[in-house]
């Protein structure tokens, strides 16, 4: 490009860096994006978006803030302070609804309608992001938080032929693992992990209808039904299959127990794949995934979205639209989600590039009757917090089933 002499090297270099922008007849669309994806796999995944955006003639400015709620607070504070970023990573929880109600976001209906989002996105995702008939957020991935992972070696050692497909078979497998001296169920005793386990029991024992009746409708009858009692009893029945060192253990250390074949099963979101892949394990050879323990088990949809703060600056609005286009583009979606461990938000993508578990997930998700919203989308954060408190107490104390039912009722309807 230039022949650099030492004395002017620095300034020439600065010029060179500035060149591509100046060379373009059109100014590149600056887009500052606040997000909290800072760990290895995550930052690689967001890099896909950045590259795709820059390839479209944009100029991606990365503002990574460590920690989810810190990043969200930063985004909100910037909006209120009158200096909003172009886009920000967000969750579709109560907070999202509040900032939409406060009128802090631009809607992205133009892009959504042009790309026919109503048709191509799964219904729970549409419900989650659409407020008063408008799209205020661009979903970028679907996480299913309730996969059941297993170690193939551990199951072989315990003489289990096939991975269980029913709750009864699951308990039989746990018993066999226990006899073989392997920790049957790997659980990290942290509130959210105990809560994942409970959600898995609720969806697999109670089924999708009960899941939504209890968590979305907060229906008293459903909470006091024999089916929900059975869910609680099954949850309690899992306690003896967990090792004593469980309390406080992190999820990735817990996944390591499966990687080392020291434990049989773990209930964890699809991000656990990252740990297996890092350890050089192969799906079907070293580990496997079970989406549910009944033929109609719901596929719970969690995921991340990007929001676009309110602005009147036409250039910023263009940048926001371009970001949405780029992020939801089929090819970008596949590349991004392979790194993130989740599955693409749209079904019209090239599935062959996804791994076996993601393909399985996409296949199940194509059946709308099995799509279910994540618990965090069915209730306000403070209610969900109280529910998690009940679950963790239920797991760690000798609470009776009656008491548990009463507590759930209080937490959901209190």
């Amino acid at each position: 490009m230039f022949i650099l002499k030492n004395a002017v090297a620095a300034s020439a270099l600065a010029l060179a860096v500035a060149m591509p922008g100046a060379a373009n007849a059109q100014e590149p669309l600056d887009a500052e994006v606040i997000h909290w994806w800072t760990s290895g796999g995550e930052s690689a995944a967001i890099g896909v978006f950045a590259d795709a955006y820059n390839a479209q003639g944009g100029n991606w400015q990365d503002s990574a803030v460590a920690g989810g709620s810190a990043a969200r607070s930063a985004a909100i504070n910037r909006i209120i302070g009158g200096d909003p970023s172009t886009a920000a990573l967000f969750n579709t929880s109560q907070q999202y609804h509040e900032i939409v109600e406060e009128g802090l976001l631009n809607d992205i209906d133009a892009v959504a309608m042009a790309n026919n989002w109503d048709e191509i996105l799964p219904a729970p995702i549409v419900d989650a992001v659409k407020i008063d008939g408008k799209y205020y957020a661009a979903p970028v991935n679907i996480h299913m938080p309730l996969w059941i992972w297993y170690s193939v070696d551990a199951l072989n050692q315990a003489g289990i032929e096939n991975p269980p497909e029913t709750v009864d078979a699951f308990f039989a497998a746990l018993d066999k693992l226990k006899e073989a001296g392997i920790t049957p169920l790997a659980l990290g005793g942290q509130r959210w992990q105990e809560n994942s386990l409970f959600s898995a029991v609720l969806t697999n024992v109670g089924g999708g209808a009960l899941w939504e009746a209890v968590y979305a409708d907060k229906d008293e009858d459903a909470i006091h039904s024999p089916e929900f009692r059975e869910v609680i009893e099954t949850f309690i029945a899992l306690k003896p299959y967990v090792d004593s060192a469980s309390p406080g253990r992190n999820w990735n250390d817990t996944t390591a127990m499966l990687i080392n074949d020291r434990a049989g099963f773990q209930v964890m979101g699809d991000w656990a794949k990252g740990e297996f892949k890092q350890a050089g394990e192969e799906i079907g050879v070293d580990y496997g995934c079970i989406p549910g323990l009944r033929p109609d088990s719901p596929y719970v949809l969690g995921g991340d979205v990007f929001v676009f703060p309110k602005t009147d600056d036409a250039e910023q609005i263009d940048a926001q639209r371009l970001l949405v286009e780029v992020m939801t583009d089929p090819e970008t979606q596949v590349a991004f989600n392979n790194l993130k461990g989740s599955i693409p938000i749209r079904s019209d993508v090239d599935v062959s590039k996804l791994d076996a578990c993601a393909q399985l997930g996409l296949e199940i998700m194509s059946d709308p009757s099995r799509q279910s919203p994540d618990a965090s989308q069915m209730m306000a954060e403070y209610i969900y917090g109280s529910v998690q408190d009940v679950v963790t107490e239920l797991w760690n104390t000798d609470m009776s089933v009656d008491e548990a039912v009463k507590r759930f009722d209080q937490a959901l309807n209190g």
């Binding site: 709620s69 109560q94 907070q95 509040e98 406060e102 005793g189 942290q190 509130r191 004593s244 060192a245 469980s246 309390p247 406080g248 306000a380 954060e381 403070y382 969900y384 917090g385 109280s386 408190d389 963790t392 107490e393 797991w395 760690n396 104390t397 507590r407 209080q410 209190g414």
Partner: protein, 299 residues
């Protein structure tokens, strides 16, 4: 003070008052203002963003119906009682023993005081390692040939508070030692001569004469420790994160969780108001007797 005297007083100290003004403004707005603001919010239905409505004591009713809050308060009471007791006894004993003209006194002093220089986070993490059944003392003892050795405080809901108390005592008793030792050094040596002539046993001298003389030191150390225990948050997060279950939850953690994770400002401010009132109820009589009581400074 009559009017003339008052004017004279103001005139003479005008510069001092002007100099103090910025500080007074900071106190009024930054401390009192925010405190009143959060008390105000506790009577509103605020969730994510502060609201201006008024819902009476609804948040307080809800607060005391929340079993996790009640558990947190009970845990705090247990931790505070044993923490203050052990810290005070251990710290005082250490100070008295160090004051026995021992060799390597500064070494002992450093050893006992260095934990206080560490943050609660570090203290919590280290004790979490030591008490972790897979990594710490239990694992070590089992490797050494005691396969039945059990030290599972951090993972046992019935014993997890011991673990918290252990870590906080380790952190805080050095402070008591330093304060009491400073007090002991200030005791007039003639008192010792006099009691020795009278043949009074030294434990009796400490108990009946020296410690009462050290009342300001004792109260200061207890106040400092009480404050650190009421706002205790990081050590619990580092050691157990409130677990197993809710067995080691504390009020400050309840407040933080509701304020940030759960977007429940109303409940969080109600909880912090309750905590504030509790602290005031304990502290005001102590401080009052300290500063305005019969033997206090202001008399």
């Amino acid at each position: 003070m009559n009017a003339a005297a008052f004017t004279r007083h103001i005139r003479r100290n005008l510069l001092a008052y002007i100099a103090l003004l910025p500080m007074a403004i900071v106190v009024v707005f930054a401390y009192l203002g925010t405190m009143l603001w959060s008390v105000r919010l506790s009577f509103s239905s605020s969730r994510l963003l502060p609201k201006d409505d008024f819902v009476g004591f609804a948040q307080y009713t809800r607060l005391f119906e929340t079993s996790r809050w009640v558990t947190s308060l009970e845990n705090l009471a247990i931790i505070a009682f044993f923490f203050l007791l052990i810290c005070f006894v251990l710290g005082t004993l250490l100070a008295i023993f160090i004051d026995q003209n021992v060799r390597a006194e500064s070494l002992f002093r450093t050893v006992f005081l260095y934990p206080y220089a560490m943050s609660f986070v570090v203290a919590g993490l280290i004790w979490q390692w030591i008490l972790n059944p897979d990594l710490g003392i239990q694992a070590t003892m089992r490797d050494l040939g005691f396969p039945d050795f059990v030290l599972d405080w951090t993972v046992n809901p019935d014993k997890v508070l011991y673990a918290i108390i252990l870590a906080t005592v380790w952190h805080g008793s050095g402070l008591v030692m330093a304060l009491i030792l400073a007090g002991l050094r200030g005791i007039d040596s003639q008192i010792w001569s006099a009691t020795r002539i009278d043949g009074i046993p030294s434990w009796r001298v400490y108990l009946s004469i020296v410690l009462p003389m050290l009342r300001p030191m004792i109260i200061t150390s207890l106040v400092l420790l009480s404050i650190s225990i009421v706002k205790m948050y990081d050590v619990v997060v580092a050691m157990t994160n409130g677990g197993p279950g809710t067995a080691s939850e504390v009020p400050a953690k309840f407040i933080m969780d509701n304020l940030f994770e759960r977007a429940n400002i109303g409940l969080a401010t109600a909880a912090s108001t309750v905590l504030l009132i509790t602290v005031l109820l304990i502290m005001v009589p102590v401080l009052y007797s300290q500063y305005f009581g019969k033997n206090g400074r202001a008399s």
